[in-house]
Every structure is written in structure tokens, then in C-alpha cells.
């Protein structure tokens, strides 16, 4: 049993396996009182293995279950999980969203290559987005995706950019209508109707407050420069 703090929320974790403790190392906050506690039961873990990948180690499945249990309660704190790769450049957050395999990770590595120290990855897979009194902020979490990119940090979200592959690099701003279509598949919508409804309300605010872009890009260095210029 230990306590972590992610996105400013103290959460108690009741675990059986060591793996999740190691995963959460950077987020330990045992001095804090948890706002809520999560625990994956045996059944949860078995179910997780069945639906995600039979043969996956139980320790890993426990961590995934716990991630989902936490995700289900984020709405209580004006937060939601967004499947996207988020980087911080000069202290501002840029989120990149796309279907799996399109090249979010490749694209952000071009930013790291071209902007050096000015850029680091906040979370490469599913950052938490939270509405604060200063607008929407993005937060790192222990769950970083297969490349393991991420830090225990946060920054204000400057823009969300939808990424598509293209021969040439080009970027344009898009409106709420178009953004909604691209956004929905990447938002974790809890099953519970109350949670789902509250999350949709958050998304409503998010769409109204955020700048959206569509980037067509190849794997050249220029892609990062075009993207940066387009969003600044």
C-alpha cells in the first residue's frame, strides 16, 4: 500500500505486486493523505489478462487495472485521460494526437532533435489533462507507454495538434467541429453514466478553450519546425 500524487491528486494504491511500485517511483507521496484509494481484485486482474493479452504477467495486468480504476475517477477532479503524446517546449505544452501507428512518437523525437534542451516529453502515451483556475494543464503520469517517455511534471496546454502522414509538411488551425471528431476516439470515457456525463462536460470546456491544429508531416527535421511555427 502506498500513496502517489498525479496531476495534483493524492491517490492511495493497494497493490500485491512489486511492479506497480517501481512504475510509480517518481510519483511517490506517502506523506500525503489519499483523496481516494484503488485496488485491483483478483477478478479484475484475471479479466484484464483475458481482454488485453493472454500471457501478460499478472503484475503488469494489475498496473493496467489500477490505471483504469484511477482514470474512472478523474472527472471528480476536473480531469480526464487523453491518448496523445505531450511535450513541453519552452515551458508550454503541445499535445499530439493521432491513430496508433501514424507517428506521434517519431514526430516528437524530431522536436527533441531540433530543439534540444528546450523540449522534453511530459508523457508519451496517456497524459492527464486537468482544468485548473489557470486553464487546462497537462500532467505526466507513471503510465508512459511502450517507449517509456515521460516525467513527473506539468505545464499549461498551449495547443492540441492532430497528426497525419503527408509527403510535404503543412499545418493549419481547425475549428471545434473538426476537432471534436478527432478528439473523441482519444478520450477515455468512463463506463459509468455520471462519470461519462461529467467527462463530456469537461470536453465541452476543453474544446472551447483549446487551440486545435491539423499537421500533415513526413519524417524530415523540417516537420518539427513547420509544426512549431504553425502553433506560434
Amino acid at each position: 500500500m502506498f500513496t502517489i500524487e498525479i496531476a495534483g491528486i493524492a491517490i492511495g494504491i493497494q497493490n500485491r505486486f512489486r511492479y506497480i511500485r517501481e512504475l510509480c517511483e517518481e510519483y511517490m507521496a506517502n506523506e500525503k493523505t489519499p483523496l481516494f484509494t484503488v485496488c485491483a481484485t483478483d477478478e479484475d486482474v484475471k479479466e484484464e489478462i483475458k481482454i488485453s493479452a493472454p500471457g501478460v504477467p499478472r503484475a503488469y495486468a494489475e498496473a493496467t487495472c489500477i490505471h483504469r480504476l484511477i482514470a474512472r475517477r478523474l472527472y471528480e477532479f476536473d480531469a480526464f485521460l487523453l491518448h496523445s503524446a505531450v511535450i513541453s517546449c519552452d515551458g508550454e505544452g503541445y499535445a499530439f494526437a493521432a491513430k496508433s501507428g501514424v507517428g506521434k512518437s517519431t514526430h516528437i523525437s524530431l522536436w527533441m532533435k531540433n530543439f534540444g534542451d528546450r523540449v522534453f516529453v511530459v508523457n508519451g502515451d496517456k497524459p492527464i489533462i486537468r482544468l485548473t483556475e489557470n486553464g487546462f494543464y497537462v500532467y505526466g503520469t507513471p503510465w508512459r507507454g511502450k517507449e517509456g517517455y515521460g516525467k513527473n511534471t506539468s505545464c499549461p496546454l498551449k495547443a492540441l495538434c492532430f497528426v497525419e502522414r503527408g509527403e510535404q509538411n503543412s499545418i493549419c488551425g481547425i475549428g471545434a467541429d473538426e476537432a471534436l471528431v478527432g478528439l473523441f476516439p482519444q478520450v477515455y470515457l468512463p463506463e459509468d453514466a455520471v462519470a461519462s456525463s461529467a467527462t463530456l462536460e469537461l470536453i465541452d470546456k476543453f474544446v472551447k478553450k483549446t487551440k486545435f491544429y491539423r499537421l500533415k508531416c513526413n519524417m524530415q527535421d523540417e516537420a518539427a519546425l513547420v509544426a512549431y511555427k504553425g502553433m506560434n
Partner: protein, 87 residues
């Protein structure tokens, strides 16, 4: 016919969006955007109804001919049926 349990409608960024909740999410993982007529009809399909009743409701509310109204209702219900949203 009527809309299956487990769908909720919310206004998001000025558009009416339908999402599946709970167990229904396993069957339906997309979203539906409803225009004004869509919202009007959807609200009347949460309990058992039929094409005739919906057409009458449309023509009572909107200044549109019966033929057009019926076509619109049939198109809408057909789309919902294809997406397996009505029973």
C-alpha cells in the same frame, strides 16, 4: 421501435453528441452528432414509437410536407438501425 438503453446525449461544443455508456460501450464505441431534427426525433424515440408517430410529430412542429417528413424520419431511423442503436 425505440432507442436501446445505455446511450446518453450531451451538448458538447455547441453540437449534440450521443455516446454509449456502461455495457453498451462494448457494442458501440463511436459518437453520433445530431442536428436539430436529429435531436427532435431522438427525444421522441426514447420510448416505443413508430415512423407514423414520428412523422406526425415532425409535421406538427416544422413547416414541412408529410412526404418530406416521412422520408427524413425513415432516413434517420435507418441510420440508427444500421448502427444497431434501436430495438
Amino acid at each position: 421501435m425505440k432507442i436501446k438503453e445505455g446511450f446518453l446525449v450531451r451538448e458538447v461544443a455547441g453540437a449534440h453528441i450521443v455516446v454509449a455508456t456502461g455495457a453498451r460501450m462494448k457494442e458501440f464505441s463511436g459518437i453520433i452528432k445530431l442536428n436539430e431534427t436529429g435531436v427532435f426525433l431522438w427525444e421522441r424515440m426514447t420510448k416505443e414509437t413508430d415512423v407514423q408517430t414520428l412523422t406526425n410529430a415532425l409535421t406538427a412542429e416544422y413547416d414541412v410536407g408529410v412526404e418530406q417528413a416521412q422520408k427524413d424520419v425513415e432516413n434517420f431511423t435507418e441510420t440508427l438501425k444500421k448502427a444497431d442503436i434501436i430495438e
